[in-house]
Symmetry: C2
Subunit: 394 residues, 2 copies
């Protein structure tokens, strides 16, 4: 990687950010061409909080009709996607509206693409670029996945529990409503897991072999420092609107790729985490809290100065010019300490996995989901290397 690579960047999502913005959902659906909507959501929290009712009233006020499909689970499943596609076709839906977090949005994206595709929607999750979909809108309730501004969707197919991603510009939402108030009811553990997910999206981009990427390095570092500053505030006071707001906007910037362009990205840690979720059903962000520091320890020697740069610039560790590795290590320990301080786990056991799961997880990380025996780009890891990384999590 000699230096900054050619790229294209296209992020046409309309973001409406702030208090009470969900009252305009109907207006935005109309603006972006919707007249018959599928409202897609997860469990009861959006019902209990009254959010779903507010969204419906907003659609009613614009004379927009709708059908509903709830029941999206974390790690959203293909079965519900097939149901949604059938419903959209039967009801002649022309707009898919997700109300919830990353799972509801990713499931909505799959439905939006599948409805207008004559083949099996799963084709898109086996590598076919998504070039067409119904327009999508989102009312976000969790700052974490970044799906509200990304062209990506991850779905798990029940047969074989294959977890795969699709991507394509057609999957960028037409609009996303980001009201930080809606995240204030999240329990601290889920809030912390969301923050960890946001930081992981930044770190997957940070660890790169591409040289001379100071501009995107600095933006990533800035967003990481913002998370370090805001996280303790929101853990101490879940109703801290300002901290919620800073985290929510950072979550979008962390994953719409404005800070990942022109540089190789890694993504091994996400693969390694997926296997833990599959075994233990842990929250994705909590899994990443265990995986990322272990991955950083294992790969540190690949480029000690990059790790030291992160430690010094983001974690404020003094640069040890005689021993940069000491600085790199101090940064990893600072990250671990931070994650612990916001209530995140540090070991496989805390996630509900054990040493016995490692052989299966390591194999599946490298060969499952169409893998060719390797994960990661910053450092290419084979099954043996992934095994060692899992062992660091014991």
């Amino acid at each position: 990687m000699i230096g900054m690579e050619n790229f294209t960047f296209f992020s046409p999502t309309y973001f409406a950010f702030g208090k009470g913005q969900e009252k305009d959902t109907g207006m935005y659906v109309k603006r972006f061409g919707g007249s018959r909507v599928l409202i897609h959501y997860g469990g009861g929290s959006v019902i209990r909080s009254g959010l779903l009712d507010r969204v419906k009233r907003s659609l009613d006020a614009e004379g927009i009709s709708y059908v509903e499909l709830g029941g999206v689970q974390p790690n959203p499943r293909s079965g519900l996607v097939y149901q949604g596609i059938e419903l959209c076709r039967k009801e002649k839906v022309d707009f898919v509206l997700a109300v919830g977090g990353g799972s509801a949005i990713d499931s909505a994206k799959a439905i939006a693409a599948g409805t207008v595709y004559e083949g099996d929607f799963w084709d898109y999750y086996q590598g076919k670029p998504v070039d067409q979909a119904l327009p999508i809108g989102t009312v976000l309730t969790i700052a974490a996945a970044g799906s509200e501004g990304s062209p990506d969707s991850v779905i798990t197919k029940e047969e074989g529990m294959l977890k795969r991603g699709a991507t394509g510009e057609a999957l960028r939402p037409a609009f996303s409503i980001l009201n930080p108030e809606l995240t204030q009811t999240l329990p601290p553990y889920q809030t912390a897991a969301g923050i960890t997910d946001i930081m992981a999206h930044l770190l997957e981009r940070y660890f790169t072999n591409t040289k001379d990427v100071e501009t995107t390095d600095r933006v990533i570092e800035g967003l990481l420092m913002s998370m370090i500053h805001e996280a303790p505030k929101v853990i101490a006071d879940p109703n801290d609107y300002q901290a919620r707001a800073n985290i929510m906007w950072a979550g979008m910037l962390a994953h719409n790729n404005c800070c990942g362009v022109g540089r190789e990205q890694d993504w091994a840690s996400h693969n390694i985490e997926h296997e833990i979720s599959a075994v233990s059903d842990c929250a994705h962000g909590a899994g990443l809290a265990v995986v990322f520091p272990a991955w950083m320890r294992y790969t540190m020697h690949h480029n000690v100065m990059r790790s030291a740069q992160l430690a010094n610039r983001v974690w404020g560790c003094p640069m040890d010019f005689a021993d940069p590795e000491a600085t790199a290590k101090a940064g990893i320990e600072a990250f671990r300490g931070f994650l612990k301080s916001i209530g995140m786990p540090g070991t496989l056991a805390e996630l509900g996995a054990s040493a016995e799961d490692i052989p299966h997880m390591a194999h599946s990380a490298c060969y499952g989901n169409g893998g060719k025996g390797f994960v990661g780009n910053y450092v290419t890891l084979n099954e043996e290397a992934v095994t060692e990384i899992y062992k660091l999590m014991l």
Copy 2:
């Protein structure tokens, strides 16, 4: 300003970034609906460099016809805009393509809006929101103004030399081609003026009374640090592609407002600089190099800790906990030293203005262009205050 304000953010421009991207101009014009194009540009440099020919060949290859209008000047004028509108109507142009820097782009935006408006295009520059325009594309040759990703345009009306801005989502380019190679022929002075303009766009957003804006603060600080890192490299070696690339992407992020959302912004320095340009015809960025440090000195006491934060985080000045003002001052001196090191001026005299111009400039800054006697939001400055700031530039 209690904290982060509600906002909307919509940046649908398609960016094609990197070496040789201008060869795809025709493809992008077609993708965004153009079949008959006005190519709008400035002086001879885009002709001499062969860029204009490459762009035309790219349009030819797609079977797209075009007419041309060159002659855009720095501080683009209304006269050429009227010519462009007439030409577009006569030739039934459906797409306006700017090839050049901020001036060519701003002029193209005015023409694109004026062509489809039955009234006088100048209405938009007197406050009417721009809700309609022909689609616009850009092939950028200078990293500075950020107009390639912004919804803004600034035009000078010859009668009375009124310099005013229009804004509206219709003015966001449909696509912008950012090839850092195209900026390599820029002389060092213009390169440095462009970098100063980018930093000024960041600082106009940084100085705010809005509390709790850590996420956007950190992104702004990161982009400033990136400029400080890359500027000396590109001044030392104009052909440093990687430095040019980092600066070019930062120039877009600095002004598409992803780091300015939800916070009050200042913009006094831009107003104060406009008057110097009007008197001396200096480069906008060079004028800002003189204005901004003087403005920072004058306003420092409004919020010493904000100035100290900038000094410490961006310029690396040690925090003087016993005397934060000393840190704030050290930051301003570091900024001045940096600007001098890249060849920017430090006084009005170097720009071609003098003490005798101050009364006129101060009055015009506050009352010209429809002003009500004040400039700025961070600190509201009247004519007397602006006079004092000009005196600091002597």
